[in-house]
Symmetry: C2
Subunit: 257 residues, 2 copies
């Protein structure tokens, strides 16, 4: 864990201890690939605590995911943003983002290696209680954290926010050892009803501990304030954003007990 170390005093913290927010860019490896993640924790705490992996949207690791990591750190967790695409691979357009995301969506084996590398990096942190670890992800990252669960990774739970739920290998549902929460926009046009049904069938067949929440009135990207509706079918929804964050908090509280 190195480079670009920074310490920020957070103005507000959900806990009573004086907050001492630490954020840090972190280089790590998957095979020969160099990846660049982002770590956030509150240094006012001592001793091991639960860790949460955050997986980015199709645009790659941006301020958006970093901010979510800070929000998680303010809740008392060690948060680590994985980098799936690789250091310096930060799409500048939706066309580039689509190409990058497709590369991994069509190579689930590689996607699993990349996200597991992020999980391993999180678990290596000495502040993390490795028996209490979860992963959350947004859009592409939502797909990715479910793929992480399908890889059989050892963690307590995953949360997908408006992620694609399809799987080329639905039998892999049987590998899932953790709880699964899906936060889904009820009007998301990018998730076909047949993919939703297939996902449910996969969870059912494998007897997974799963839950799916449909937020009425929400479309794709409902947690993403930058989604202004200029892209059809993707728009921020403050109500669904707030509620899904609350639902995630309840989920983490439950699985980390």
């Amino acid at each position: 864990m190195k480079t670009l170390f920074s310490v920020l005093l957070a103005g507000a913290c959900a806990l009573s201890a004086p907050a001492k927010l630490v954020t840090q860019t972190v280089e790590y490896k998957q095979g020969d690939a160099t990846l660049e993640g982002y770590l956030a924790y509150d240094d006012a705490f001592s001793g091991p605590r639960p860790g949460v992996l955050v997986v980015h949207q199709w645009m790659g690791l941006t301020d958006y995911e970093q901010n979510r990591a800070v929000m998680l750190a303010n809740l008392g967790y060690v948060a680590f943003c994985a980098d799936i695409y690789g250091k310096g691979v930060r799409p500048q357009s939706t066309k580039e983002a689509g190409m990058e995301a497709t590369k991994y969506k069509t190579d689930r084996a590689l996607l699993r290696l990349r996200v597991n590398a992020g999980l391993d990096e999180l678990k290596k942190n000495e502040r993390v209680d490795t028996h209490r670890v979860a992963a959350i992800g947004y859009c592409f990252g939502g797909t990715t954290v479910i793929e992480l669960a399908r890889s059989g990774a050892a963690l307590n739970g995953v949360v997908s926010f408006h992620g694609g739920l399809d799987s080329p290998t639905p039998a892999d549902g049987k590998n899932i050892k953790c709880s699964v929460l899906v936060c889904h926009g009820a009007d998301d046009p990018f998730e076909k009803p047949e993919d939703l049904a297939a996902f449910e069938a996969e969870m059912r067949a494998a007897n997974v501990d799963w839950r799916l929440i449909k937020y009425g009135g929400a479309v794709h990207s409902f947690t993403q304030p930058m989604a202004d509706g200029s892209m059809a079918g993707a728009k921020y929804n403050a109500r669904a954003d707030k509620r899904s964050w609350q639902d995630m908090k309840s989920f983490l509280t439950e699985i980390f007990k």
Copy 2:
């Protein structure tokens, strides 16, 4: 509000004030029909507080609903169990229960009158802040609280636990003025996929503030400890029970802000 007055000192309370749980059987009217509900509140509180109506399952008002009212009272709410069937009408068999429930399911106008009478009775209680009122219901009661919303009743929200979601008059969705939370067993065989889809379409068309949670592995009656699986497709599920209660608590906290 009269008859069978009882004061119990609750052993545990979610709040710091010393608990002084009051429960009371209450006779009230809908037209010429006499109904017998059940009130629960914590008298250690003073001043108006939110009120929650509880609507019973097809077996009529039983200890089960009374216990839920006590749980709500322990959370600081004034809880009132409505009686839809009428005083003394307490089915003794599933056959009788089916006949009673069918009477109201096939006469939604009467069902609406009966449940609104319960809501009015709750609102009449001087401890209730009439601007902060919700209704929850189980199975038949889940159907009923959604019907209450469809009647255009003035309340903040309704929560259905494993309730039937079908409607003979889906256009009535436009009358709904409150938030709707549906807690649904993902494997409930009594709720047909087409009824679920029709419900979603109704909410969508009327632009209702709605949410639906599917609990994986849960069938019908998942909150009902008496459901031992002897009736196919209906069984208690401790995990889904606990989670849905938590989800209801978050919902009430949000709508009563």
